[in-house]
Symmetry: C2
């Protein structure tokens, strides 16, 4: 008759964000949906591509016998094969279906990874700013999240990661294209990080896993360098939440490199973790749909145009931002340096954004441009007013 | 570069079951699929009802804008309302949508519940035999599973639960209709258990939650008594894996009683746990499908007929079993008392079952009758041979 203390405390601290959303809803009721510039949510509004609809309808018409039943916990073998081909191309390796485990979205995949690899007290290094749920995903499974800074342009600070490495380091998490900065880590930085982790492993015997959370790989305005080909102990986690705009359907996957130590054990552990965490398997229908859509994606040009429009709006208002190379976020410097105060001021002008404190980066504010271009354009005057 | 010790050990101990499945596959290859009597898996083979296909096709044809996007973590409000109505009827209470949280199957729901309520070292009482994954679901979130015996007919032994109760007891889990025994706990037993838990709470200040895992409620050959109306601190977890034969689609829900202490906190905790465990939300499309199918179910008469045929087969072979009142399992006494040896002997006659040891009940064997009636009939001679 009492909830867990950890959850109780978390509810208190997460109530600030909830309050913000509630106030957004209140503002929309008061002033009308079209009068509020809501850039707070990363919920893709671009519809899935026509190919998705075609395959969805085809599978519904067939509704094949047994197609909603259990399959192996790792997913349908032919789906794993299809995704292995896709991952092989993206990561410059040659893996087969045995290296892929289907997941309940990238969030489910990350939890399976941490459950599979973390012992109590193990450390997981995460560069700031980062998607705050990582903190729970790590602590859910007994791990300790260790934050490291990034460079002023939000590229990885490999030196800072070097200093944070310890015998307890089980993994380093990177997220490129990044939420909230939109940064894509360049090839040479990935190479530098790989060299560091290799050296650390050779010296101490424990090679940290490099966990690449990359749901935004296909929402990018320049090439995203491969990970699996760079470092043997890499684990890639991805989803179709952004590339096919299916976040509500919870379909993702985990792919491991062909040279990963104890490969069979690692894959068995990922499958076992997926089972005992109660995911059991990724949703059956969506597995079958994405297997037929490996090269489909939403129209990234739509996001690129919005980004350009939004940049112009911010330039005109004199607000500084990190140059976004991928994903659909603009990460802006809060004028005056107080992100919470700036978010308040924005709200008075009916603009909703998320304070950087929610990404472990106070002093900044995140705007998501998963909204119609017209709304971005229409927000120009309101942004200028916040600067007046 | 090393998997978690807990997972490594679990993989070793779970390898026996895996070996069994692998041998089943080998036998089928060697002798032909139709020559092996595979009663090992609880994977419903009865197709979803025609109403499912109708709604599935309708939603695929519409493929409404935004229908695959994020919704609140608890699920679509109208879906929660629909399931609250269903749960209200089944449990003799009057709850609205705010008491329902959509889940990634019952397994996902149980993990959300334990994450929401367990502090490190809390105890969860589970009567034997039980679905062994409960052990992981509890330990995933820092809890300790405490086994209690049931009565010889597998009805709840409320006296044994009384003895197991302690100040650390956070919850008692019941599963009725039961996997593996098929037992449905009668109304008076639920009342007796409720009285015990109430008394325990009044004495010590901590009322244990009664967690009812009931994916088989609608696969029953006699009425299944309500839970929520009996005990205020009840949490029901269910799914459509069996009632609509959709186990691969991972669609379930959690419902709490209207009188539960700190109701708002409990529901917030369940939603928060669902979010941070990486489920995020139950799959969108399936939520929308089941909301329109609240009164639909698979044809239970098919399972009832198979049960009768299987009972006759076992009677003819002189094998004792617990009378199944629901679910689709027959739990049989291993002649001689050694379940593993009996399973071996069965295998020599091309019959596959699961040793009771896998349900914390050695000396017994579980047969799942999610297979064609013809296969059950055809197994009669093989069963007789094991007894020769």
């Amino acid at each position: 008759m009492a909830i867990a203390t950890y959850i109780k405390n978390s509810l208190v601290s997460s109530s600030m964000i909830r309050k913000m959303f509630e106030e957004g809803t209140r503002l929309k009721k008061q002033f009308g949906d079209d009068k509020v510039f809501d850039f707070s949510l990363g919920n893709p509004d671009v519809e899935p591509p026509p190919a998705f609809h075609r395959v969805f309808l085809k599978l519904a018409q067939e509704d094949a016998k047994g197609s909603h039943g259990y399959m192996p916990n790792a997913g349908y073998p032919y789906v794993r094969e299809a995704l292995a081909k896709k991952a092989s191309v993206e990561h410059g390796v040659n893996i087969d279906g045995s290296c892929v485990v289907m997941a309940v979205g990238a969030a489910g995949g990350l939890n399976s990874v941490f459950k599979a690899i973390l012992n109590q007290g193990d450390e997981v290094i995460v560069p700031t700013p980062y998607f705050m749920e990582y903190r729970s995903y790590v602590s859910n499974h007994g791990g300790i999240l260790v934050e490291t800074p990034t460079l002023p342009d939000f590229n990885l600070d490999v030196g800072a990661i070097r200093e944070a490495l310890s015998p307890k380091t089980a993994a380093v998490v990177i997220n490129s294209p990044n939420n909230p900065t939109g940064r894509i880590y360049p090839q040479e930085t990935i190479a530098e990080l790989s060299a560091l982790l290799t050296k650390h492993g050779e010296k101490g015997g424990r090679f940290p896993y490099l966990v690449a959370d990359e749901p935004y790989r296909e929402i990018a305005y320049k090439p995203v360098p491969p990970i699996l080909s760079h470092y043997a102990e890499s684990i890639v986690v991805s989803s179709y939440s952004k590339s096919l705009s299916l976040p509500g359907e919870r379909i993702g996957y985990i792919a491991v490199g062909p040279q990963i130590h104890d490969r069979e054990d690692v894959i068995s552990a990922l499958i076992y973790a997926t089972r005992i965490l109660g995911y059991v398997n990724a949703p059956a229908l969506m597995q079958r749909i994405v297997a037929e859509l490996c090269s489909a994606r939403v129209d990234v040009a739509v996001y690129a145009r919005r980004r350009d429009v939004f940049k112009q709006v911010l330039d005109d208002a004199g607000i500084e931002y990190a140059e976004p190379e991928g994903a659909f976020y603009l990460f802006c410097k809060a004028p005056g340096g107080d992100d919470v105060a700036f978010v308040e001021k924005l709200k008075q002008n009916l603009i909703l954004g998320v304070p950087g404190a929610s990404f472990a980066k106070p002093g900044w504010v995140r705007f998501a441009y998963c909204v119609d271009e017209k709304i971005i354009r229409a927000s120009a005057e309101a942004f200028k007013k916040t600067q007046a």
